[in-house]
Amino acid sequence: MIKTSAITKTVNTTQGELSILKPISFEVKAGESIAIVGASGSGKSTLLSLLAGLDEVSSGEIYLDGQSLHSMNEEQRAQLRGAKVGFIFQSFMLVQSLTALENIILPAEIAGLADAKQRGQDILEKVGLGHRGDHYPNQLSGGEQQRVAIARAFITKPKILFADEPTGNLDAANSDKVERLLFDLNRDSHTTLVLVTHDSELAKHCERQLLMTAGELSDITPSNKTPDINVPVPTIQSQVG
């Protein structure tokens, strides 16, 4: 589903060129979940931005579902994101002036899906916020906002989901809920998940773990790895998919 070949990222600073990512090559299979872990500033968010087509590589190649992301312009990358990619961010990134439901259906509308509203209603129920559809983000708790963001990420049934520190802004109880929801939905919809986190506990739930250290990536997955969390959240049952 994702294939990178010697991708690098360098930026120009007043002190000269700074290399953020050393040549990185790896592959993620369809339906696989991987966690990229590492300390702050190690380059994991940069890698995510390149994989998701939010930024351009300095060199190397990236293929997303067989399409060469590295040779696309911004418009083509946006199109690809709209068609195949879902996102979850640490800071939720909800549009403050849209309600929870409207935030959820935003990607479906951008993709021009006719049944956007119905899909939105369904998935809102699945994330347990059916009664909060008319609320604005600032009327929701952090955990609720992230659940809205998760629902938004899944509404277009993306092939790949990128999650950047999805529980980074949440307390323990909410983190737990969000984790379960994320992995359940991911499993049910057979989405390829790329999770960036510095939380090794969260990373353990993924099938593979990659460690980013000073711009270099290494596989640290223990052998015969099985995801820890596979207990469905009662409210979502198995309706996704």
Binding site: S45, S49, L54, Q79, R81, V85, F87, F89, Q96, R152
Partner: protein
């Protein structure tokens, strides 16, 4: 555009409007549309009312004056063009009553006269007149009060004019086209035009003039004039319109019109500034949604469509609300001023509406263009890197686009390149000075803001760190304050000038023909009756006959004009009142040469004469020229020793020629004077003048009242416009502070989180705003001075003066207003708890 895009834009617009996200930009558009609409609608209506009023002074919209009757086809043609017509014949003739006789200004009016204004009549001499729509019947004459006095007449008695006897049936108090000259006229006698022929006074060689009055729509009048122009003989005929009115009223109205225009232009600039500020804020607040949409797969064109649609919705809503509000404001003001300002609400003017809509749309589009372009350039990467802003950044494009837009709007609206260039030029100067000052201040702040981190140091630190943002904020504050200052100072200067023309106690009666023998008795009598008379001017009537021994003529032939030659120079064309004095009248100013300071003749052996500057210019009289006057059979030669500027609008006796007293020894003058008599004592006037039957009394009360009335109306209108512009300015300031508060929110949240006390934060914000407000005020005072100098000297033809008080008032007021607004904004933020503050930033 897809339905989804439209729906998304509409939904965003709806929610954001409901949540108050669009309030500032919406308010800015509403403000621009409503202020421009109410200002221009009101001024257009007021102008039309004032023009109508001033049309009364020529008794029509246009007048064709001719020295001989015009072809009747000219009048029929005017009627074909849809104009109303009337005419009147003027001549001077002797009126007799028994043994008494007097030269009168005879007016024979045809039916329809006056087309504008009204003839006023009374039943008793010097009694207040009442308007009448009638004209004298055949065989009747209406005569002025002083003719009753001079000829010893009473109502019902007879006068003879030429071969016809008339019964005096009314006192003629006022005719609309009397003109403003106090001494120029003989007493007026109004008769029916049909009676004129029987008097037999109009014949070959008689000096009659024929006035043809026209009223109608501007278009019809102009079309008729276009038809008439090729047939006019400049020697015989002249075409007069209200705008040719050079009287005090005409000038006041012209100045007021310019003021309205200026105020409207400034309102447009204010509106533009507020929209620019609001659009900037709007753009910044939408960086996140744009980044999110792009991340979720929205194409650039979809993002563009969504936000262009939003701006369109906001603009349309702003224009709709602004139009209604502007109309209501204007209506309320017209109602409030009802009694004082006679503005008709019947006419609906489309131009102001179109201008207002155009302004709202252009401002919204042009001023949001750059912020929108910036918005479109926001990278989707912002979802991961929150510090990423817009990638497009060009202050040059911004200044060029906004500056160009403001200038084109001003020029398009005013049609006055000079006025627009002056305002725009001083704005640019202000911007450049402000940039220099801001950076100077920041340099200075490095020294002032050193030491332990208190509120003062925090304030300086913020100013220093946000140098460019502060410079822009400072500029927008200063421009706003400057615009308000211009409108305020112009209003003060203009109203003061108008009021100075006619202060309380302005003489409302003039006495002419006081003989030397009557003088002591008259002085005593007036003193006994408690009527103050300050000054008596000796007067002899003389004819101005030559300049440098070259005879002056009254007429200049067309051919000579074309050939650039003149046979004989232009003269006054009538007798002049010559006076003499060693003292310069206080409202006169010497503009060239010197006032007579000795009793000796000049070097040439001639005595001096001081000539009024405008007549000197008209007759091409220079300092040192020899002027010859003919008084009776005597010749008086004088040399021009000074030129004087005279304010003819003061209703004081004034003279074209003031001669050195030694030159006039031996001439027996009559005296002329003026005095003020309170309205309540009007009834005493007949008694007061009884012992001096031969002295002519002019009652100019009605004229002064007319002048005061107009000045009052115009002043009130100016006051209203000032209030409106001030309100607009205040809103702009609030918008600016509001916008800057958003930028400060993050910093306040951090300071708060770090445990800074509310007092420290408030004090630091207060200091920062006080510094910005006072510097903006100081700069505004500076730019105001420059703008006013050019405006007053070049556009308003006023004496430009420095306004030192504003160099103090503007910084203090700027510091106060900006400081208080800043505090209010800060107080609002500090009321929120820290987590709410932080959450708002997400």
């Amino acid at each position: 555009m897809t339905k989804q895009t439209f729906n998304l834009a509409w939904r965003l617009f709806k929610h954001e409007a409901k949540r108050g996200e669009l309030t500032i930009i919406l308010l800015a558009i509403i403000l621009s549309v409503s202020s421009v609409l109410s200002l221009s609608l009101f001024s257009e209506r007021l102008q039309s009312a004032l023009t109508a009023k001033s049309a009364e002074f020529i008794a029509a919209d246009r007048v064709l004056n001719s020295r001989k009757p015009v072809d009747v086809s000219w009048i029929t043609k005017a009627q074909e063009f849809g104009l109303n017509t009337a005419h009147q014949v003027y001549t001077r003739s002797m009126a007799f009553s028994g043994d008494n006789m007097m030269l009168v200004d005879l007016r024979a009016a045809a039916e329809g006269y006056p087309l504008k204004g009204a003839v006023k009549v009374a039943d008793q001499p010097f009694a207040p007149g009442q308007a009448t729509s009638a004209l004298p019947q055949a065989g009747h004459a209406w005569i002025e009060s002083r003719l009753f006095q001079n000829l010893g007449l009473a109502i019902g008695q007879y006068i003879d004019v030429g071969d016809k006897t008339f019964v005096v049936s009314k006192v003629l108090s006022e005719v609309p086209d009397a003109g403003f000259s106090v001494f120029g006229g003989d007493p007026k006698v109004l008769i029916a035009e049909a009676d004129l022929a029987e008097t037999n006074i109009i014949g070959p060689g008689s000096r009659a003039s024929f006035s043809y009055f026209f009223t109608g729509s501007e278009a019809d009048l102009n079309n008729y004039y276009d038809w008439l122009l090729p047939q006019l003989d400049n020697e015989l005929q002249s075409w007069v319109s209200v705008s040719d009115d050079d009287s005090a009223i005409g000038r006041s109205i012209a100045k007021a019109e310019q003021y309205f225009l200026l105020a409207s232009l400034l309102a447009i600039v204010l509106a533009a500034v507020s929209i620019a500020v609001a659009a900037q804020r709007y753009s910044q607040r939408h960086y996140d949604p744009v980044a999110i949409m792009k991340t979720l797969g929205a194409s650039k064109s979809m993002v563009q469509q969504v936000y262009l649609l939003q701006i369109t919705f906001i603009t349309l809503l702003g224009i709709a609300i602004g139009t209604v509000l502007g109309f209501v404001i204007q209506q309320v003001v017209v109602w409030a001023l009802a009694g004082s300002v006679d503005v008709s609400l019947d006419v609906w003017f489309w131009r102001p509406l179109l201008i207002a809509i155009f302004t709202g749309a252009i401002c919204a589009v042009l001023f949001s263009l750059y912020p929108l372009l910036k918005l479109f350039s926001v990278s989707p990467l912002r979802v991961l890197r929150r510090d990423l802003g817009a990638s497009l950044s060009s202050r040059f494009i911004q200044f060029f686009a906004s500056g160009g837009a403001i200038f084109s709007l001003m020029w398009a609206y005013s049609g006055n390149l000079g006025l627009s260039a002056i305002l725009f030029g001083s704005g640019i100067l202000l911007v450049i000075s402000l940039l220099l000052v801001t950076f100077g201040l920041i340099w200075l702040g490095r020294k002032l803001g050193q030491g332990k981190m208190g509120a003062w140091q925090l304030a300086w630190a913020r100013i220093r760190r946000r140098a460019m943002d502060n410079a822009i904020q400072l500029i927008s504050f200063a421009v706003t304050i400057m615009l308000l200052l211009i409108v305020l100072v112009m209003r003060n200067d203009m109203i003061a000038q108008w009021q100075n023309q006619l202060p309380q106690g302005t003489p409302n009666y003039f006495l002419v023909n006081i003989t030397q023998q009557q003088l002591p008795d008259l002085k005593t009598h007036f003193a006994e009756e408690n009527v103050d008379i300050e000054h008596f001017y000796p007067v002899v009537r003389g004819r101005f006959v030559a300049i440098n021994d070259e005879k002056v003529s009254t007429a200049v032939s067309k051919e000579d004009e074309e050939a650039g030659q003149r046979q004989g120079r232009e003269g006054l064309g009538r007798e002049a009142n010559l006076t003499w004095s060693n003292t310069l009248q206080h409202e006169n100013t010497i503009v060239a040469g010197q006032w007579f300071d000795t009793n000796d003749p000049l070097a040439s052996g001639l005595y001096g004469v001081s000539v009024e500057a405008r007549i000197a210019e008209r007759l091409n009289i220079q300092l040192g020229d020899k002027l010859t006057f003919n008084v009776g059979s005597e010749i008086i030669n004088t040399e021009v020793s000074s030129l004087r500027e005279v304010d003819w609008q003061t209703m004081q006796p004034n003279f074209f020629f003031v001669i050195q007293p030694q030159a006039m020894q031996g001439y027996l003058p009559t005296y002329l004077s003026s005095f003020y008599l309170d309205k309540s004592r009007k009834a005493e006037i007949t008694e007061l003048m009884k012992p001096f039957a031969s002295v002519t009394l002019f009652d100019v009360d009605a004229r002064i009242e007319q002048l005061r009335d107009i000045v009052k109306q115009v002043s009130l209108a100016v006051e209203f416009i000032l209030v409106l512009v001030l309100a607009a300015g205040a809103l702009v300031l609030i918008a600016q502070v509001q916008a800057s508060m958003d930028e400060r929110q993050q910093e306040l949240a951090i300071l708060r989180t770090l445990g800074a006390k509310g007092r420290l934060i408030r004090a630091s914000v207060l200091f920062e705003f006080i510094i910005i407000g006072s510097v903006a005020g100081l700069m505004a005072a500076f730019a105001n001075e420059i703008s006013l100098f050019f405006l007053q000297s070049q556009v308003f033809e006023m004496q430009a003066a420095l306004h030192w008080q504003y160099w103090f008032i503007a910084p203090v007021a700027g510091a106060l207003v900006v400081g208080i607004l800043g505090m209010i904004g800060c107080w609002r933020l500090l009321r929120l708890n820290t987590s709410h503050l932080l959450r708002q930033m997400v």
